[in-house]
Amino acid sequence: MTLVRPARFFDFIPFQRGWEPIRVAAIASAILLVAAGLSLTGYSAQIERSERAEQAQAQARILAASVSGELAFDDVRGARDYLNALLANPAVEGAAVYDSSGRLFAQGARPGQTVPARGLSRRNLFEGSHLIIVTPVTQAGVAMGSVYLRTAIEPAGRRLARYAGVALLAAFAALVIFVLAAAHGALSRANHALEDRAEDLAAANLALTREMEERAKAEEALRQGQKMEALGKLTGGVAHDFNNLLMVASGGLELLDRTENPERRRKLKDGIREAVDRGARLTRQLLAFSRRSPLHAEVVDLGTRLDGIRVLLDRSLREDISVRIVRPTGLWPVEIDPGEFDVALLNIAVNARDAMPKGGEIKISARNMPAVDKDDLVGDFVELSITDQGEGMAPDVAAQVFEPFFTTKAVGQGTGLGLSQVYGFVRASGGQASVESRLGEGTTLTLLFPRAARAAPRAPATAPRAAAPLPEGKDRRILLVDDDDSVASAVEAMLEELGYQVVRAADAGEALTTLDQDQGFDIVLSDMVMPGEMGGIDLAREIARRHQGLPVVLSTGYSDAAAIAVRERVRLLTKPYRLDSLAAELDAAVAEGELKRSATA
C-alpha cells in the first residue's frame, strides 16, 4: 500500500541526515571498545602470565636455596615446613623436593593435587593455566637435588572475575549496539509511519480541498439562488411600496387638475408630498441597508428626538396601538444621523405594530449606561429599548431578524430591510443592536449608542416647512449642468423659484465652454454622474483650476459618488432634495466663494 522511500524521507527530515553517521560511529566505537577491552585483557593476561612465571621461578629458586641444607642433611621436616610455607600462596598447587638421586624427599600439595614420584629434569613448562617449574638444588656447586613447583597462572576465581569483567564490558557494548539498533529501527519505523501518515494526510487534504471546492461551488450556487430570491422579494416589496406611492402621487396630481378648491388642493398636495417623502425614505432605507449612504452624524439629545418622533409614530401606527416613552432627564448626548434614527425607530415600531395584530403598547425607554465593557463596546453608552406586547419570536427567528431580506411577512407586505436598516445604522453609529424575544411574551429590541463627547446644540424649534422663509436668489446667475432633461427642468423651476437666473448645460464640456465665454456666473450646480469623459468631480476640479473662486455644488442620488465628493471637499446635495435645502446649500456655497475670493484678493 505504501511505498517506502527512505532516501527521499531522509532528505525531508533534516536530522535524519545527521543520524546515519552517528549511528555508524556509535556502533564502530562500541566494537572498538570491545576489541580494545579484549586486547587489553589479553595483553594484561600475557603480562600476568609472564609475571606469574617469573614469580613462580623466583619462588622455586628460593625454595631450592632454602632446602639445600635440609636436603643435604636429610631434614625432611624442615623441608616440609618450607613446602607448607610455600603452599600459603594460593597460586601454588603443589611443591616437592627431590634428592640428588631423584627420590621424593618431601612434598606438599593441595587436596586433590599430586606431585611426581620421581624428580624431573630442570624445566619451565606451561600446562594450560598451570606452570610447572623444576629447579635444581645446589650448594656451593654441589647438586643436592631438585625442587618441583606447580602453580596456577591465575587463580580460577580471579580469572573468572576478570572474564566476568570483560564479559560485562562486552555485554554493555552489545547492549549499546542493540539499543542503538533498536532506536534506529524504531526511528525508521516511526519515520515510515510518519511518512504513511503524511501521505494519508496529503490524500485527506486533497480530498478535503476538492470537497471544499465543491462546497464553495454549491454555496456559490446557493448564494446566487438566495440572491435571486432576495432580489425577487425586494423587487416585489419595493415595487409594491412604490406603486402605492406612485398611486397616491399620480392620483393626487390628476385630482389636482380637477379641483379649484384650495382646501382640497392643499390636502392633495400634502398627500403627494407625503408619498414622495415615503419614496425618498424607502430609497434611503435601501441605501442605509447597503451602508452606502453617508451618515450625516450630528450630536443630538435622544429625549428631544423621541419627543419629536412621537407624532410620526402616532401617525404611522394603528389606533389600537399606544406608544409610551420613558425617558429620564439628563440623558447623555449621542452622535447619530437623526434622519436615519427616525427611520430606524419607525422600522422598529412598524415591526412591533405588525407583531401586535390585536393592539397593545409599545414602550420606548432610554437610559444611560456608564462604563460598558462588552465585546467590542467600551465606554459610556446610551441604551434605547423598544418593547412590544406582541407574539414574540422563536429563537431561530430572533437570530435572523437583523439579516437583510429576512421577513416573516407575506410577499408585498414587507421588504425584509427594516430591521437590517436598524442594524446597519446602529453599527455605523458605533453602537450595537440586540434582540430579546420569547414566543407569546413580546419582543425587546435594544440599541446602544456611544455617548457623544460634545453636548447637543440647542435644537431650534422645527418650524413648518411651508412657513420656512426661503433665502432669496438675489438674481444670481447660476449654471445648471445636468444630462437629464426632466430633472433639469424640475431643478430649473426650483432655482427660478428661488430667484436665480438659470443657464443650462447638458454636460461638462458644454459647461466649460459656457463658462469660458461668459464670466458672469455666480455659481455652478452640476450633476455628478454624467455621460461623457468628464463627470461632476472632474468638472469641479477644472472649474477650480480655470475660474478660481467660482463656487460649485454637486448633486447626486448615488452614494458612492457622494463619498468621492466628500473626499474632494466639494459641496454636495443628495437627491432628492427640497427647495429649502437647495437654497441653503447654494447660499452657503456662494458665501464661501466670496470669502475665498476676498481672501485671495
Binding site: 632454602s66 639445600s68 641444607g69 635440609e70 643435604a72 642433611f73 636429610d74 631434614d75 624442615g78 650448594q139 656451593a140 656447586g141 654441589v142 643436592m144
Partner: protein, 189 residues
Amino acid sequence: MFRGVDTGRVGKSAWATAAVTVAVLCLASSALAEPSLEYAVKAAYLYKLAAFVDWPPSSFEGPSSPLHICIIGDDPFKTTLDQAVAGVSIAGRPVQVARHDAAQPNMGCQIAYVAGSPAQSRADALRVLKGEAVLTVTDQGRDPGAEQGIVSFVLKDNRVRFEIDQREAIDDHLALSGKLLSLALEVRR
C-alpha cells in the same frame, strides 16, 4: 691439666657413659640396620658440610685446588667415604680424602674427622688442630662428653643429626652457613 679434668670426668661417669653408649649404639644399629649405613650417611654429610662452610682463602693454594677431607685416627668409614666423594667437587674444588693416624699442625686438611687412636687421643688431635682453619668433625656417639670439635654427629630419633660449636668455628676463622646452623640440633655460641 685438661687431661686431668677429662680423666676425672670419665672416671666419675664411666658407668653412665658406658650405659648410654651401649644404648645409643643399640638404638642406632636397630634404626639404621647396620653401622655401615650410619657411616654412609655420615660420609655423605661429611663432604656436604663443605658446601655450607667458607674457609679463609689462605686455606687453599689456588681457586681450584682440591678440598681435603682428612680422617684422623681410626677410620670408621672404610670405603664409604671414598665412594661418596668420588667425582664430587665443591665450589669447583675436587674433594680428596686423606687418612692420618695423628694430627699434626698444617696438615693441609680443610675438614678433619677426628676419631682418635691409640697413638693420639681425639682430644689431643683436636687440640693440635685448634686455631687452624680446619672444620673439625667428631662422632659424639663414640665419645660422648669429650672434646667434640666444631661439628659433632649425634643420633636422634634414629637419624644422624649434628651439633655445632660456633665459638670454636669463629676461633678457627671459619664462616658457617646459617642454613647449617639452623639444621643443627644444638649450637654452642
